[in-house]
């Protein structure tokens, strides 16, 4: 049954049984559905146990893979025939190489943390069990896709994720907006999937197989040039790339991503860090030779890869959009889109390794950032994600959240020695080294913009005066902190929670916060903060696996067999040697972005802080200064947005947003409406009148003929008899005449 079993004897148990990694959560999904309700913790324990088990196997596989790479570059393939048709065989199983192992351990790890986090975050939710079932299936889908030995299994995982994203984004479907967002997400991705279906069919036509690895797999054949026509390969790559664009929210199919924030925060975090949206990038990385050779465009003797164009556009557009968002999750969502743009650009400019490394590091800090946003909403801002109305000044009350947020932000911005620096800077550097000058500049601008919007978000959330929901939390607690009884504090906090927005009351029925960590008594409970700490630690250190400045290249060594192309002549370009001079522009721009934001925000901060101090010491004067304070605040907000947004990104961002809302969304909507109208028109006019008309017409003709013949049917037996015998007589006469 298992092919190549003996060839992989030395690979170790975990590597040979890596196929268990998606199977465990898939089984757990059914267990949760059928038995979850009866479990004491509503099925969440099954989900967490399954993800933990997957993670343990994935970690074991990682260890063994590292051992394996010392003496072999072979991938570990084990497959069963899934279905066959004539000579074609399509298998299901595992194709384990560096890329797959990296993604497996990443997904399993983050899924585990997100599930632990969710036990607190969606506690008391009306569809608690169902939520965990969907999460588990979602992870199973991603894991199945990651270790897919062929495109069919890849499609399976890909589509299962699509389904689960539909269920999870629409988790609170009682509100129409959520239901619509879920529909939009599924539909947009599905539009891209058209490319996946057709592209897979094309792959079969070009290579005669859908296997990814192996001697006669897609990668090997594409790399060796074993295909008939280059233009066919190009169209194949284009079709598949459309799918990647849809899934990874690349321009111009990114519009579903911010809407997808309607789902619960753990979902956003899982979707945006290591699973769903990464799937598109992963597709490109997985069958990289197809894209590298297929989308290679030759303009006037200068080769460049089309993927870089889409990646570059996405970086700028998404970063620009991130400026005008007030919803903290939408800032992060656009930031994800922008970072995915970096990955795509990296793959486009031939920097496979940095791009994949960016998938790796990005997962940690982006997951952490989303979970921080959830932590703030859960504890600090009364389930609101609006930075302007319900946040601010949270850094002291939520120290764990604050510190982990700052670390992750630094990693995201690419501050030197944080993980993002080692991956993102490599991408930018490679763009420079590989003669993609325009994209090098785009990357640098992107780095600047990233720092700027993240600084803005950080300020609005953690600094300045506490507003709205956050003010309740900060001030309400401050009053009580002078009291002795800490019990009462918690009681009061709970009391406040019941005042939350009625809509969200539904979702968090009786709110009993769990136990917080001892050194942060007011912060979120440990189920939330523990994952944050772990993730931010990794956001800090994960980059050292492939730290070019120190010539540490373990990650590269583990993964290089997965590229599918040789490095150097006839393959992808050699990675540039790291020099601080080359990294300098990006470091300078990051610092500049930070400085500009810092400068502007300090003004906001001081002006903001002035009034709360007054308000805190003299409550009456706060009331007296109310009007001036509001105007002042408005003015500073205008200044803040006026300087940062208007002078730097306003025209771009507004235009992009306008295009986003009017052109792209308009196209999507009008296509939908036109489709419906056409459908109605065709149905009414063609179907009901023409086609049906013909049928009814023949019926009418028959009826008319019947009317003419009606008198014959007199009902008199003797008349029938006469007709019968008359006809027989005529028949006999004819017979006689004919025969004689």
């Amino acid at each position: 049954m298992f092919a190549e079993a003996e060839a992989t004897h030395a690979a170790g148990w975990f590597l040979e049984h890596a196929w268990l990694i998606p199977v465990i959560p898939a089984v757990a999904f059914f267990l949760i559905i059928f038995f979850g309700k009866k479990m004491p913790r509503g099925g969440s324990e099954i989900g967490i146990a399954a993800m933990l088990a997957s993670f343990v196997i994935a970690a074991g596989a990682t260890y063994q893979w590292i051992q394996w790479t010392h003496h072999s570059e072979e991938a570990i393939d084990k497959t069963l025939t899934w279905w066959s048709s004539g000579p074609l065989k399509f298998s299901i199983g595992q194709h384990i190489d560096g890329l797959a192992v990296m993604a497996l351990v990443l997904v399993a790890f983050i899924s585990t943390l997100v599930q632990i986090y969710s036990t607190e975050y969606v506690r008391g939710d009306r569809r608690y069990t169902h939520f965990f079932a969907s999460l588990t299936l979602f992870s199973a889908g991603m894991l199945a896709m990651v270790l897919a030995p062929n495109m069919v299994q890849f499609v399976l995982g890909w589509e299962i994720m699509g389904l689960c994203s539909f269920m999870l984004i629409g988790h609170w479907w009682e509100e129409e907006a959520n239901a619509r967002a879920a529909l939009k997400a599924f539909f947009t991705v599905r539009t891209g999937d058209m490319g996946l279906l057709v592209g897979t069919a094309m792959l079969l036509a070009v290579f005669g197989t859908l296997d990814i690895g192996g001697e006669h797999g897609i990668n090997a054949m594409a790399a060796a040039g074993e295909f008939d026509s280059k233009s066919m390969l190009m169209w194949t790559a284009v079709a598949l790339f459309i799918a990647a664009i849809g899934k990874s929210g690349q321009f111009p199919l990114h519009t579903w991503l911010p809407d997808a924030m309607a789902g619960p925060t753990p979902v956003s975090s899982l979707l945006h860090s290591s699973t769903m949206v990464v799937a598109g990038v992963f597709l490109v990385a997985r069958i990289y030779p197809v894209f590298h050779i297929g989308l290679d465009i030759n303009v006037a003797g200068h080769h460049f890869n089309f993927i870089a164009v889409i990646g570059g556009i996405t970086i700028l557009i998404a970063a620009g959009l991130a400026f005008v968002q007030n919803d903290i999750k939408k800032v992060l969502a656009y930031s994800t889109v922008s970072q995915l743009g970096y990955m795509m650009m990296g793959l486009g400019v031939g920097a496979w390794m940095p791009a994949v490394f960016h998938i790796f590091t990005h997962a940690f800090f982006k997951c952490c950032l989303f979970l921080c946003a959830g932590s703030i909403a859960h504890t600090g801002s009364h389930h609101s994600f609006d930075m302007k109305t319900d946040m601010g000044g949270l850094r002291k009350k939520m120290p764990v959240t604050f510190v982990t947020w700052v670390i992750s932000t630094a990693a995201l911005c690419g501050v030197p020695f944080f993980s993002g620096f080692f991956s993102k800077d490599e991408i930018i550097d490679s763009a420079h080294a590989n003669d993609y000058t325009v994209f090098w500049i785009i990357g640098l601008i992107g780095a600047f913009m990233t720092t700027a919007y993240m600084t803005r978000a950080t300020y609005l959330t953690f600094f300045g005066k506490a507003r709205g929901g956050a003010a309740h939390f900060v001030d309400g607690h401050e009053d009580h902190s002078h009291d002795a009884a800490s019990d009462e504090v918690h009681h009061d906090v709970d009391g406040l929670d019941t005042h939350a927005h009625p809509v969200h009351d539904d979702h968090h029925a009786p709110l009993n916060h769990g136990k917080p960590l001892p050194f942060a008594p007011d912060d979120s409970p440990w189920q939330i903060t523990a994952p944050l700490i772990l993730l931010s630690f990794l956001a800090l250190v994960a980059g050292y696996l492939n730290a070019a400045p120190f010539h540490w290249h373990s990650f590269e060594h583990w993964l290089e067999s997965s590229i599918g192309l040789p490095i150097g002549e006839g393959g992808i370009p050699e990675p540039p040697a790291f020099e601080w001079v080359n990294a300098l522009p990006s470091i300078v721009l990051v610092l500049a972005g930070f400085a500009v934001s810092l400068f502007l925000s300090k003004k906001v901060f001081f002006n903001d802080e002035k009034s709360p101090f007054k308000g805190l010491t003299e409550r009456n004067s706060l009331l007296g200064a109310g009007h001036r304070f509001l105007v002042n605040k408005y003015y500073l907000d205008a200044l803040y947005e006026g300087v940062i947004v208007k002078s730097i990104a306003h025209p771009i961002a507004k235009a992009a947003y306008w295009v986003n809302q009017n052109v792209l969304d308009g196209v999507v909507n009008s296509v939908g409406i036109t489709g419906r109208r056409t459908g109605e028109w065709v149905y009414r006019n063609v179907d009901q009148r023409v086609v049906d008309g013909a049928v009814n017409g023949s019926g009418a003709t028959a009826r008319g003929a019947g009317g003419v013949l009606q008198p014959v049917q007199s009902g008199k037996v003797s008349m029938y008899g006469a007709l019968l015998f008359g006809a027989a007589a005529v028949g006999a006469l004819v017979l006689v005449l004919v025969n004689s």
Binding site: I33, F34, F35, K37, K38, T81, W82, W83, S84, S85, G86, P87, L88, R126, R127, T129, H130, A133, V152, V155, L156, E159, I160, G162, L163, G170, W173, E174, E176, A179, R180, A182, L183, F186, F187, R190, T191, D193, M194, L197, V198, T200, A201, M202, L204, A205, G672, G675, R676, G679, E680, V682, Y683, R684, D687, V691, D692, V695, S698, G699
Partner: protein
């Protein structure tokens, strides 16, 4: 292909005609004794299914490509018709599926006999239908095939005409006339084919109507004649499938038919047409098939897009599902039109999958109608709140229908797309290849159809299942409209609870019954279908393994790979 296994020759005849024995017994039971009538009918169907299962156990899966349980006898000697029946991997799943569907529909009918009642006649018609359907799938003689093909028609006509909705007269007549029209042309083609092959044959005396004769002699017919004969068969089968533009009977028939009728119609009857293409039209007349394939492909793709557009325009849930059949059968026909093993395998899988999924969707629609007395999408909302289990089942079926991998629907669509990118082509094919350019464009358009399918199904789901119940039905839920802890997927564990809810039904305020969730009979009838959708979705090889040998044999004549 022509080697046959003549083991247990009685088995297929027993499976086909056992329902008629049940009908005989039922004739002697008084009409008023409803539960005995139903019991005997269900027992008969169950016994038939047992025969079917026994057939499956006796089936030699290593020789799925050759006919098994084969038997041949003289039947109507003067016109050279023979009683020849046999079963291979292609027909086995459909044969057993027809038995399963009949039994499940009967179980569902236990407490869902549609107005105006009279279960005796209703169950008898279903048994007769069963004989016709099973017979069509095992017949190995054109006349016998034709007889069974037509036997199906009458019971369905009465089911729609007597137990149907308001517009049933019109719908049933349309169904009948349309199909009869197709059948007439088909019969003419059959006879013409017989006459022509006999005149070409070395030994005209040996000519008969068995499939074997046509497989051996059909290819000798001159191309022009073959194209005309194929045209007649094409219309006969295309009406049944139904292909654009012969589909207009389908929405009416489905909308007006009682739930049971819709389910049988969708699950089995439509497959008779596609089965006819695979079993008769294409292998008998390969020289005409390569000429007709582009036409079939184009019409199939038009059907895909057109059906989807039709769905988007519907305001009635049942009509929407009916239109979706046009789109799905388009994928099946597209697979057939490629004339490759992959395409025909996909088509066969698509037939079974569509039977399971659309059958389930019609079941759900019937149950919604029974509870809400309407299927207007506008008036339905919040099914997930009021009848969560029903809502989840609808969701699962919608997902299966739009071709989600892991569920059965995918294996009809995806390989069809794969194959239509690579249709029969190449050099040195005995009957020529197909136009790559044309079929590749068709592939792209068909892929667009999958997007539209997602569009209309999810839109349907969003409008009916999400949100809150509309005002007219609010408060009629079995356990109140609010504070309701969604049961979600764990519904199977709650059979007893569901039955209780059913038992506790009382007439609520305003003359409306309380709306209850899925009841016991519905669970029994639906669980096998739902399980099958998942199992065949996860393990497609179960089915492909059966089809493949027969299909490879079948397309060998075209010389493709």
């Amino acid at each position: 292909m022509h080697d046959v296994l003549q083991n247990q020759q009685w088995l297929l005849s027993l499976g086909v005609f056992l329902p008629l024995a049940g009908v005989l017994v039922m004739l002697f039971i008084p009409k008023s004794d409803e539960s005995t009538v139903k019991g005997v009918a269900i027992l008969t169907a169950a016994a038939t299914l047992l025969v079917g299962i026994y057939t499956m156990t006796q089936f030699d899966y290593g020789k799925a490509g050759s006919l098994q349980f084969f038997t041949t006898n003289n039947w109507i000697t003067p016109i050279k018709a023979t009683y020849t029946i046999g079963l291979d991997g292609i027909s086995l799943p459909l044969y057993v599926l027809s038995m399963i569907i009949t039994l499940l529909v009967m179980i569902y009918s236990w407490d869902h006999v549609p107005s105006p009642g009279n279960p005796k006649a209703f169950f008898i018609l279903m048994l007769v239908l069963q004989t016709g359907m099973a017979g069509t799938f095992v017949a190995q003689d054109l006349i016998l095939f034709f007889v069974f093909f037509e036997v199906v028609l009458l019971p369905m006509y009465f089911m729609i005409g007597v137990w149907g909705g308001e517009n049933r007269q019109y719908a049933s007549l349309k169904f009948f006339l349309y199909t009869m029209f197709g059948s007439a042309l088909m019969l003419v083609s059959f006879i013409a084919l017989f006459v022509v092959t006999r005149s070409h044959a070395a030994d005209p005396e040996a000519a008969n109507f068995s499939f074997k004769w046509f497989l051996e002699n059909g290819a000798d017919v001159s191309k022009n004649t073959a194209i005309w004969i194929f045209a007649g068969m094409f219309i006969g089968f295309a009406v049944k499938v139904p292909m654009f533009p012969f589909h207009t009977w389908l929405p009416d028939a489905h909308t007006q038919a009682p739930t049971q009728g819709s389910v049988i119609l969708a699950a089995i009857l439509l497959k008779l047409g596609t089965y006819g293409f695979v079993r008769i039209a294409i292998p008998f007349l390969p020289q005409a098939a390569t000429k007709w394939a582009p036409v079939i492909g184009v019409l199939a793709v038009i059907g895909i897009i057109y059906g989807a557009l039709g769905c988007l325009a519907q305001t009635d849930m049942k009509r929407l599902i009916a239109f979706s059949s046009v789109a799905h059968m388009g994928f099946v026909m597209l697979g057939i039109a490629t004339l490759t093993p992959l395409g025909i395998n996909a088509a066969l899988f698509g037939m079974v999958a569509h039977g399971l999924i659309t059958g389930m969707l019609f079941f759900v629609a019937g149950s919604v109608k029974e509870r809400y007395h309407t299927l207007e999408i506008k008036r339905l909302s919040g099914l997930l709140q009021q009848v969560p289990k029903l809502g989840w089942i609808l969701g699962m079926c919608a997902m299966a229908s739009l071709g989600l991998p892991g569920l059965a629907g995918f294996w009809g669509e995806f390989p069809a797309i794969l194959s239509s990118w690579n249709p029969l082509h190449g050099d040195g094919l005995p009957y020529g290849g197909l136009s790559l350019t044309l079929f590749r464009w068709l592939t792209v358009i068909a892929a667009l159809g999958t997007v539209l399918a997602a569009g209309y199904l999810l839109w349907l789901y969003q409008r009916t299942a999400f949100g809150n119940p509309t005002a007219e039905f609010a408060g009629l839920g079995a356990d109140g409209a609010h504070g309701h802890d969604a049961h979600g997927h764990d519904a199977h564990g709650h059979d007893a609870h569901a039955a209780d809810a059913h038992g506790a039904d009382a007439h609520g305020e305003g003359g409306h019954e309380l709306i209850h969730d899925v009841n016991k009979f519905e669970w029994i009838a639906w669980t096998p279908l739902l399980l099958a959708i998942v199992v065949f979705g996860v393990l497609p090889q179960l089915m492909f393994k059966l089809f493949d040998p027969g299909v490879v044999e079948l397309v060998k004549v075209f010389g493709g790979k």
